[in-house]
Symmetry: C2
Subunit: 167 residues, 2 copies
């Protein structure tokens, strides 16, 4: 059994069943380094050169802290990760000491685009957020992606401001 | 000594020194419930009716998870919290397994507005983010607050989308 970053029981089988049979939607696993997780992530942003050791250390640190619900879609025919997304859960004092879910780092490998995998990832993260009792889910995106996220049931609310500390 | 949510050594004394002497900028403390933390927070958003027990439990859970850098400004003449803000730190696989800092829940009590306390809170959270090695700091805000955050050194980048699960 692979070691997962969160409990597999949070995965909706209904959303899994909407995927073709070779695609498995599941929590990120500790042995996913060998399945091309960084080939997938580097299509989203800068990843740097990460060793397997560093990946495993980061995985363990995130698992220990809790709050990291990273899901992966594996193409089981190829043994490759073809999609990723994270729900990062924040505890607040507001809203009756409620939880806010931050949807982060959604990516689908370009070899698999046009198959609604992005939509399945968002649906799954929404499912997890509701199961965990998050009072809201939020994400930041480029303006050009607004129509996609509106189709996923989200609504434009505010603006995002950024400060890059290293550039 | 009060019990703090994070190590006090991360507080910049330079930013503290810019405040009037009765105002102390420090990490959130476990005994801040009695100092009106919710009187302050309810000026920002819905807080609900939180007991001291629930506040302490949430404080302990956040401290155990790590990643919650909540700062408070206390008016020591009155023994009251008059400002709050949080840097919530996310571990990522992107950017060499880097850290992103989320600035959350900035509030200044209306009795203390016009004294640049909001600016001091942001400066302090920026300081903590840099000390921790966050590659970026982000926040979401209403369009009307863009000029304030631009003065704080942030730049408009993306949009925020939201899904409220309970409404």
């Amino acid at each position: 059994m692979p070691e997962y970053i969160f409990d597999e029981s949070l995965i909706s089988t209904e959303i899994q069943d909407a995927l073709s049979p070779n695609l498995k939607l599941r929590p990120l696993a500790k042995d996913d380094f060998d399945k091309g997780i960084f080939d997938c992530l580097e299509q989203l942003s800068i990843t740097g050169e990460i060793s397997q050791k560093k990946f495993v250390e980061q995985f363990e640190e995130m698992k220990k802290a809790g709050g990291y619900y990273t899901i992966a879609i594996e193409d089981e025919d190829q043994g490759k990760i073809v999609g990723l997304g994270t729900l990062f859960v924040e505890m607040k004092f507001l809203r009756n000491c409620g939880k806010a879910g931050h949807i982060e780092d959604i990516v689908v490998h370009d070899s698999q685009r046009g198959k609604s995998l992005g939509r399945r990832i968002i649906d799954q993260l929404k499912h997890i957020g509701k199961e965990l009792g998050c009072y809201k889910l939020i994400l930041n995106c480029n303006e050009k992606n607004i129509p996609f996220y509106e189709k996923c049931g989200l609504t434009l609310k505010d603006v995002q401001m950024t400060l890059y500390t290293t550039t």
